[in-house]
């Protein structure tokens, strides 16, 4: 097999590959990549280099992991998972990413594609108007610094208290949409200034809001789908992908600088500056964790406000209340985060960067409604190919620190995609194929063309085959909003 690395890669199973610690100076544990042989052979050199760099971090347990949607990031690969011992281990902003608590939310409806298709254009126009997207976009929620600090502490609960959402949404959000230990005094004024106007906005890049359809023949587990409100008879659902916006980006930027200096003090050497880290128990580590929780809560609040705006848009276009349209939230899950979770080694700090929590049935941490079926996992594909709803498994708890993939994963750079595709032409072609796209940026649209991404079905089949997540339904796009 021809790989983009000279390191020895041993096959553990048809979909698990291991790089032993002897392959790089400083590796404390092996690195494990989940992929088919074909996907592994297509992975870029950055994945192998970065996942083995992660394996060098102090306190890492068992393995440095990379999911099948893994690709070259900075510091950690996108798709990276690493669990650290709480006493001996480090916390790394590079293991969370700049977009702290970037994540996915899925909302179901009672509408069918036959109901929506005749009004798709006004619906997408209204969604585009109500959910600002693109460079530097500002939201409708006007806050002062004191109020933003409430958002940092309360997360999605703040939004619901302000009338932006339903109480039941919180039980259908990871950690009920509020991480404990958020301390706004650990956040800089710069971060507040940068993010204070952006609640309720999507951002750009690979962030989107998508109207999707679920067909009955693309439901893979009818009992679980039914429990999640998905019947699939041409059913319309809405998916949102976004995070903590400029606020979270600034928190990450601020603490990477702090950690660069702290590493010298703690005598930590790392192979890549973007892996800057500090002992979790150090003052710097604890302060970053508190600030990261503030940003994560702000992201939960952001997706909650966007949910409210989506319900308002549907209500206006279909002239019915969101309740009568059955617009219940299916789930909201983070894929850029670090959290303390309990595994066989004890309490560990699990970093997930472009990887999703995938807790299996019976997990105490899950709300009652998910105890029997496992935690919903929402994986976004490209805007042309569709997305998947999955659920976590017990095997994920045993093997991957309760983690799985997060999306299709890129296979082509933005510059290359822009050379191959023109945004306006792509928009027209997609409309002919029944996908209506509203975009702020035509060049941004070209960068997100389907050809720039891996085949999400292959990625999903890999995690299903590995037993770390179970397919529930495929969700196909009919309308997309891009920044």
């Amino acid at each position: 097999m021809n790989l983009a690395t000279k390191m020895a890669v041993q096959q553990i199973s048809p979909v698990i590959w291991e790089i032993p610690p002897t392959e790089k100076v400083g590796m404390r544990v092996p690195a494990r990549i989940y992929a088919t042989e074909k996907m592994l052979s297509e992975m870029d050199a950055g994945v192998f280099d970065q996942v083995t760099n992660v394996a060098c971090l102090p306190g890492i347990q068992r393995y440095a992991l990379c999911m099948p949607d893994g690709h070259w990031g900075y510091g950690f690969p996108i798709g990276g998972v690493a669990a650290m011992d709480l006493r001996q281990g480090v916390i790394s902003p590079g293991g969370v990413g700049y977009d702290i608590n970037c994540g996915m939310r899925l909302i179901r409806t009672d509408l069918t594609v036959a109901d929506v298709q005749p009004r798709l254009n006004p619906l997408m126009t209204e969604l585009f108007r109500k959910v600002p997207a693109g460079v530097g976009a500002r939201g409708f929620v006007k806050l002062n610094a004191k109020e933003l600090k409430q958002v940092m502490r309360k997360g999605a609960r703040w939004s619901v208290e302000q009338g932006y959402g339903w109480q039941e949404d919180l039980a259908r959000t990871e950690e009920s949409g509020c991480l404990a230990g958020a301390d706004p005094s650990c956040v800089s004024d710069h971060a507040i200034e940068r993010g204070i106007h952006q609640l309720g906005t999507l951002g750009s890049g690979n962030h989107y809001l998508e109207v999707q359809v679920v067909h009955h023949d693309r439901i893979f587990d009818h009992a679980v789908a039914e429990a999640l409100g998905i019947h699939g008879h041409g059913q319309i659902v809405i998916m949102v992908h976004c995070g903590s916006r400029g606020f979270g980006h600034q928190v990450a930027t601020d603490y990477l600088k702090v950690f660069e200096k702290a590493m010298k003090r703690y005598g930590i050497t790392i192979p890549d500056q973007q892996l800057a880290c500090a002992p979790f128990q150090s003052s710097e580590g604890q302060e970053y964790f508190s600030a990261m929780n503030c940003a994560a809560n702000t992201a939960f609040a952001n997706r909650q406000i966007i949910t409210h705006q989506i319900r308002e848009a549907f209500s206006k276009v279909f002239n019915q209340s969101p309740e009568s349209l059955g617009m219940h939230q299916v789930y909201d899950v983070a894929h850029n985060i670090a959290k303390v979770e309990r595994y066989r080694e004890g309490d560990l700090l699990v970093h997930r960067k472009g990887a999703t929590r995938a807790f299996g049935p019976g997990c105490e941490e899950l709300a009652e409604g998910f105890q029997r079926i496992g935690q919903p996992v929402i994986c976004g594909g490209s805007m042309e190919a569709g997305s998947y709803l999955l659920v976590g498994t017990s095997r994920a708890m045993d093997e991957t620190f309760g983690s799985t993939m997060h999306g299709a994963g890129r296979r082509m750079s933005r510059a290359q995609a822009k050379r191959m595709v023109r945004g306006a032409q792509l928009q027209q072609e997609m409309e002919k194929r029944g996908i209506l796209v509203k975009a702020v940026s035509m060049s941004g649209l070209a960068e997100e063309a389907g050809l720039a991404y891996k085949n999400i079905s292959e990625v999903v089949e890999t995690v299903e085959s590995a037993g770390i997540t179970k397919k529930v339904a495929e969700l196909l796009p009919i309308g997309n909003i891009k920044g």
Binding site: Y98, D99, V135, R194, G195, S204, H249, S441, E447
Partner: protein, 146 residues
């Protein structure tokens, strides 16, 4: 006065990487800022109603470039502005043992109806970040998080 930049295709797939160069350190800073701006917008579509002077000091030239680019990303969000051009004068202050920048950013309030916007840059990363002087050229490699 000579400067240029090019985007790097096979670095950090999900993000955006560029190499900038200038025949002086000031030209390098202008070229780097221009590359960052072009990721976010087609600058010819941005008018010049907004201006901001910036003064920065750092012990290392690489830290100064990093802070210069961070300042542009910060202002984009904090003030909802987008840029037409950047000007920079950079020099080494031997007395202070530091690098100094006096910069000017010119642009306008963000308005997608008038400007051809691109990608929203989240951050300037230290991944593969490099500033060097080679054969009379100042060269930088920068990876932006998108």
């Amino acid at each position: 006065m000579a400067r240029s930049f090019r985007f790097l295709e096979h670095v950090a797939l999900a993000d955006s990487a560029f190499e900038a160069r200038g025949d002086s350190v000031s030209e390098l800073f202008v070229a780097s800022a221009q590359a960052l701006i072009e990721v976010m917008v087609d600058p010819v579509t941005v008018s010049t109603n907004w201006k901001r002077d910036l003064t920065l000091t750092q012990p290392q030239v690489s830290d100064l470039l990093f802070e210069w680019l961070l300042a542009i990303v910060f202002l984009k969000d904090a003030e909802a502005v987008i840029f037409h051009e950047a000007q920079a004068k950079v020099w080494r202050d031997e007395d202070q043992q530091s690098w100094q920048l006096q910069g000017l950013l010119i642009g306008d309030t963000i308005d997608p109806s008038r400007q051809e916007l691109g990608a929203d840059v989240k951050a300037v990363t230290k991944h593969l970040f490099e500033v060097k002087e080679e054969s009379g050229w100042w060269i930088a490699r920068v990876v932006l998080d998108i």
